[in-house]
């Protein structure tokens, strides 16, 4: 766990073109302490995913700084950001999280390979993580042979493969029913705790907000001058 904040936003402004026209988000300064578990909530189009992408280094701010685990992501060249994301950040998306042509085990093994840190221990760790998410018997199954809940559990296991210090989840329960969503959230939280990772979950699901110890609304993150888009 990092000593300083896991995430720090400072004067961040991000604009992009959308089908509705030019959209811009300006964020107020914000810090997420290391080891925290925070729900980020807001309506559709409120910029949740943009914020997640900024924190993941998938996009960089037009202005301001996004510091993750002490690194200013905007100052890093793209290749270095890719390496950083691959090795320090675990990502879980809403759906279609997995490579359809790979088995569950291969999906996990793809994480260190793509991050350029494959090693001989990967296979053992992948099997252990699949067991951790209760899917040891599904290692050789492809996503099409698994339920959505199982696929999300594989995605969580994959996000943990590279021992991330920060776990980012974008609507991880969005495609699941309430019971399965609740189970998945518990798994996500306990996995993050065991790994000592900070957990940020982007959601519009009130149940998720209630289940996490901290939450923040998107409108509370906007810089006062900018307001919502």
């Amino acid at each position: 766990m990092a000593d300083g904040p896991a995430v720090r936003l400072e004067g961040v402004w991000k604009g992009y073109a959308s089908p509705e026209g030019k959209v811009a988000f300006a964020f107020r300064p914000w810090e997420v302490p290391g080891g925290a578990q925070v729900a980020i909530t807001g309506d559709s189009g409120s910029g949740k995913t943009t914020l997640l992408h900024l924190i993941a280094g998938i996009v960089v701010p037009d202005r301001g700084r996004v510091e993750v685990l002490g690194l200013d992501l905007g100052a890093l060249p793209e290749a270095a950001r890719d390496r950083f994301r691959g090795s320090r950040i675990g990502l879980v998306f809403q759906s279609l999280n997995l490579f359809q042509h790979l088995t569950a085990l291969e999906n996990l093994l793809a994480a260190p390979l793509l991050a350029g840190k494959a090693s001989a221990e990967d296979r053992g760790r992948a099997r252990a993580l699949l067991a951790r998410v209760g899917l040891e018997g599904r290692a050789s199954h492809r996503p099409s042979e698994m339920s959505l809940g199982e696929q999300q559990r594989v995605a969580i296991a994959r996000a943990l493969m590279n021992r991330p210090a920060l776990l980012l989840a974008d609507e991880p329960t969005g495609s699941l029913d309430a019971r399965r969503g609740d189970e998945l959230l518990r798994l996500l939280r306990s996995s993050a705790e065991e790994a000592g990772a900070t957990l940020l979950v982007v959601t519009h699901d009130e149940a998720v907000v209630r289940a996490l110890p901290q939450s923040v609304r998107m409108q509370d993150l906007y810089a006062p001058a900018a307001g919502p888009p």
Binding site: T49, H53, A56, I58, V59, E78, A79, D82, R83, F84, R85, G86, S87, L91, F93, Q94, S95, L96, N97, F99, Q100, H101, L102, E106, L109, A110, A111, L113, L114, A115, G116, A118, D122, R158, N162
Partner: protein
């Protein structure tokens, strides 16, 4: 897990597109390999046969025609030459061996060639001697005994089923369908069957040249009337050394009624002429490979939209842009490798399957396991071309936007 696993899994996932692309590459490479093999084998066959003799001397005609109707059992004899020309050449100290050559009859599609007993033991195709595998060589024809002895080339024996002591009736003329008039007066008796030589010798029936003249309707003077000198189709000879062969060639070239021809030179000239045609065939086959590579490009490029989520996910997991580009090139190259390897097998398979038909049709013996080093270049070239075809998808993958790719499909 290695990048190779990712490539193979991705290709397996799109197995229909992969199979079709590989098949089109295979067809192109198969054509190149097949045509190349046939071209090489045909050249080798003709050249092997051509080196059997140094010089062929016939009537004034095209040297190529003279070589074709003597050494290769093809084409018609354009005329005759006097026997004295043969006797003169046989007595020439620069000549190691001179064989009279008389053609005009056939049995089924095989020619009957009259020559002397000196034919046996002659080396053809780089040291392979003309020798009987069964039976004995024919004896010089004795007009008193009138024994019609014939020796079969190995292909003739295999295809007609004739064996030593069998008899057959020759047909007047060289009609390949065997529809000429039968020589009923001379039932030929097979006395021997030659061992295979891999040359046109295998596809002829060999008799003593004097026996040829003794048959009815064979006018030894070729219509010049009683008392005129006997005439033969040609003389085939080996010189005592290559320099003498050249000397004889230039001497005979100035003769008024004789035309010398050097088989090796004529075959080379023939291949210079037909070379353009088979180069064209090869170019068409190469074009098929190019079209197949373009097919891979189109297939991959049009599939990029459905792969954008995977590509974005790879980037999200930390894959650098250049890795994605490399995977695309590797996928295209792997399809090329599968196709080229399959095409190589297909090319040789087709040649192997069609070898016997081709031999029957053209007389060219095709070695089914004849591999050439340049085939490695063909396979490598096809793989390289297909990998090149992966460059456009590679650029598309390189430029793929992660955020857009991760967005839910609208």
């Amino acid at each position: 897990m290695t990048p190779r696993t990712l490539v193979l899994r991705s290709l397996r996932h799109r197995r229909l597109a992969t199979a079709l692309s590989a098949l089109s590459v295979a067809l192109g490479v198969g054509l190149v390999v097949g045509i190349g093999t046939l071209r090489r084998e045909a050249r080798s066959h003709f050249q092997n046969a051509a080196v059997s003799f140094d010089l062929v001397v016939g009537p004034k005609a095209s040297p190529l025609q003279i070589v074709l109707y003597t050494v290769f059992q093809m084409d018609e004899a354009p005329g005759t030459i006097p026997v004295s020309a043969y006797e003169r050449l046989r007595a020439d100290p620069r000549v190691k061996v001179a064989l009279p050559w008389v053609v005009g009859d056939s049995y089924r599609e095989f020619r009957i060639v009259g020559t002397s007993e000196a034919f046996f033991g002659q080396e053809v195709r780089g040291g392979v001697p003309v020798a009987c595998a069964s039976g004995v060589p024919f004896r010089p024809f004795d007009p008193a005994r009138r024994e019609w002895e014939a020796v079969l080339g190995s292909t003739v024996a295999a295809e007609t089923g004739l064996r030593a002591h069998d008899t057959f009736s020759a047909v007047h003329g060289l009609d390949s369908k065997g529809t000429g008039t039968e020589h009923e007066e001379a039932p030929w008796r097979v006395v021997g069957v030659l061992a295979p030589t891999g040359t046109p010798v295998d596809r002829a029936i060999w008799i003593h040249w004097e026996a040829f003249f003794a048959m009815e309707r064979h006018d030894p003077t070729a219509g010049r009337g009683a008392g005129a000198e006997r005439r033969i189709s040609a003389v085939v000879l080996k010189a005592a050394n290559p320099a003498f062969a050249n000397l004889l060639f230039f001497e005979l070239r100035s003769s008024e009624d004789l035309q010398p021809a050097r088989p090796f030179v004529e075959v080379r000239r023939l291949f210079d002429i037909v070379g353009n045609a088979d180069r064209l065939l090869l170019a068409v086959a190469a074009l098929v490979v190019v079209v197949a590579a373009l097919g891979i490009l189109v297939s991959m490029a049009s599939g990029m939209r459905e792969r954008r989520r995977d590509l974005a996910m790879m980037r999200a997991l930390g894959a650098p842009r250049r890795l994605l580009a490399a995977l695309m090139v590797a996928e295209a190259g792997t399809v090329g490798l599968f196709g080229a390897a399959g095409g190589w097998l297909l090319g040789h398979g087709i040649v192997a399957a069609g070898a016997s038909v081709l031999t029957e049709w053209s007389g060219v013996r095709v070695r089914t396991l004849a591999f050439a080093p340049e085939e490695i270049l063909v396979v490598a070239g096809a793989v390289g071309l297909c990998a090149l075809a992966g460059l456009l998808p590679a650029v598309m993958a390189y430029r793929a936007d992660v955020a857009t790719g991760l967005a839910p499909e609208s």
